[in-house]
Symmetry: C2
Subunit: 351 residues, 2 copies
């Protein structure tokens, strides 16, 4: 098995870059856990590419595929050994699922109230690419945002909200106000009804984010949250509107982004646009922070091998990283003092 | 209290940008835990700026300072209440200290061997800006790198290694080889002695990273690690040399970086240089992942209020974020299809 050749072949097939390192990581994840819906997300590459690698491994007689299990054959074991590929270690903390945050410790009575409300929300609509975050992981996001000081006493803008993060944030009692812009009328009505019934400083408006922000929204918020579509233009549109809603230096934004629908090259293009066009810094990237409910029509959309033969996943498998960005200050210029690699004005030592 | 005015005043004094959001976060952290060496790192701003804010809060009669404790006065409580500043929540998981990684579960017998070896290493030298990571947190880094598939069967380059991460990585038995470039002769000798005694595929060479990489190093490694000096030119120099040591698309680099010596504006300048000049994507930023041993000469270097009156910290307080970067592939061009915000070729759905 030649990892580079396999990567090149898959790249041509799927139409975006897949590296030899991606293929190696997928193999190591498969060696650790043969269930496709477990190992594929751990490989941190687009799902279609992961499937394509598995299909090729099967065609080469290195794995046998049954149900959701991809098991190494004797030839596969030898090939992996020759390349020094062993089972991918999983050193993640079990208590917090590797996220570093325990949502159930954060305002537990409010969390329970949120879970009750979330249970009665409208069903996801494929038309808007809606797939729901697990309510526990919505609360995890809110806990993290609160721990960064980005909610308390502040104004929060939520762009698209089938996850009801606006409701969770408002239920904490921390934000001064929460405003939601959402395309789906059902959700706008649901959120406004909850806000009224619970007495929350929360309002939702129907809006299409392809239009510029309303004047009374632009530049008025301390923090935004969005879980954008994963096409690059969708990421840039939603995050860009969020940034347009912020007040200025020190204001923060949060969004989810996956490896399951984005190569590192796509991440690169997104990050570069954020830095160059929007002048925000990336301050946190929390891996696999949020899980989503699986959805019925998943395999109906995936026709190519091995998906045409895979069984449906059980439980949550689709996850996203959680990213925090912050508007920078241009108060002092970008000049770099290159004379001293150890100390500058921001160092501990008095100068 | 006017947060923006205070931020502007501190910015002028320290000579780099501090935002009103920074000041607010510091106040919320102080309201949650009055110990300076606990709340200042949680504020995620340069320590000198945090000290300067505290000195101004004291001068305004809003806090009283004694030993290491900054306690809110009655006037301070009123001022914070008026601004909606409550205690900063700490939703971090206690089991893994909010890092998401449990180092003690990862190859525990090898971890113990590493702790024994690390206990006999040379003392830190101020001349090289050496401050040691806690050995447990070195192992945490190695566990995370292994979990990303960036060690097993691969070549690891370590640039500067007073933390002995090279020894920890080699002790896992995962890397094919580990090479260290280090300025301090004492460390080079120590690492090579350990490598010989333990039979590890590990070698250290004396090198000044201000010189270009040796020819037999450049472009030969799958992964690098460095814990660079925090001046922007130091960050760029060490990380840049690491990237110069990598093989190409899919190769990964790891480094530590703090908020305690770097404003978000400095982070922004670093990230922009990495993306534009080095063409790497940032794939993970893990907050407060690593703690350092405190050091004797700390307060001797800090003369301005309130440091001239603060007591020494007890235990570890200085921490850094852990960042993973990855070389991208230019195999497919940077064109963006802006016609569909929901789907592109990297999405799940077959196109």
């Amino acid at each position: 098995m030649d990892l580079q050749e396999l990567a090149d072949d898959v790249s041509e097939y799927v139409g975006f870059p897949v590296t030899a390192a991606d293929v190696r990581r997928l193999c190591a994840a498969l060696a650790a856990d043969p269930d496709f819906w477990s190992f594929a997300p751990r490989a941190r590459m687009p799902l279609r590419a992961a499937g394509s690698v598995v299909a090729r491994l099967e065609a080469a007689g290195l794995v046998s595929l049954e149900g959701t299990q991809a098991r190494l054959t004797a030839a596969g074991r030898t090939a992996f050994e020759d390349l020094g590929i062993g089972p991918l270690p999983a050193p993640e903390c079990e208590a917090c699922r590797g996220t570093g945050v325990l949502p159930d410790r954060f305002l537990p009575d409010r969390a329970v109230r949120f879970y009750t409300i979330a249970a009665s929300r409208p069903a996801p609509a494929a038309e808007y690419d809606q797939v729901h975050l697990l309510p526990e992981d919505v609360w995890r996001r809110v806990a993290f945002m609160a721990g960064r000081g980005d909610l308390s006493g502040l104004d929060l803008l939520v762009l698209g909200d089938d996850d009801l993060l606006s409701v969770a944030a408002a239920l904490t009692g921390l934000p001064r106000r929460v405003v939601v812009l959402e395309l789906d009328r059902r959700l706008v009505d649901f959120i406004n009804t909850v806000a009224r019934e619970e007495g929350l400083p929360l309002t939702a408006e129907q809006a299409d984010l392809r239009d510029p922000l309303p004047l009374e929204i632009a530049g008025r918020f301390d923090t935004f949250h969005t879980d954008p579509p994963e096409a690059l233009s969708g990421l840039l549109l939603f995050i860009g509107r969020g940034i347009a809603g912020l007040k200025g230096p020190g204001s923060a934004g949060y969004f989810g982004i996956t490896h399951l629908e984005g190569s590192v090259s796509k991440w690169y293009r997104l990050e570069r646009a954020l830095l160059e066009e929007y002048r925000v810094a990336v301050t946190d990237i929390l891996p696999a922070f949020s899980r989503y409910q699986t959805w019925d029509y998943l395999l109906a959309d995936l026709h190519r091998p091995p998906f045409d033969r895979l069984a449906r996943p059980r439980g949550s498998w689709y996850n996203s990283d959680f990213v925090r960005i912050e508007q920078i200050s241009d108060r002092f210029g970008p000049e770099v003092d290159a004379t001293d690699i150890y100390f500058d004005t921001e160092g501990l030592v008095d100068t």
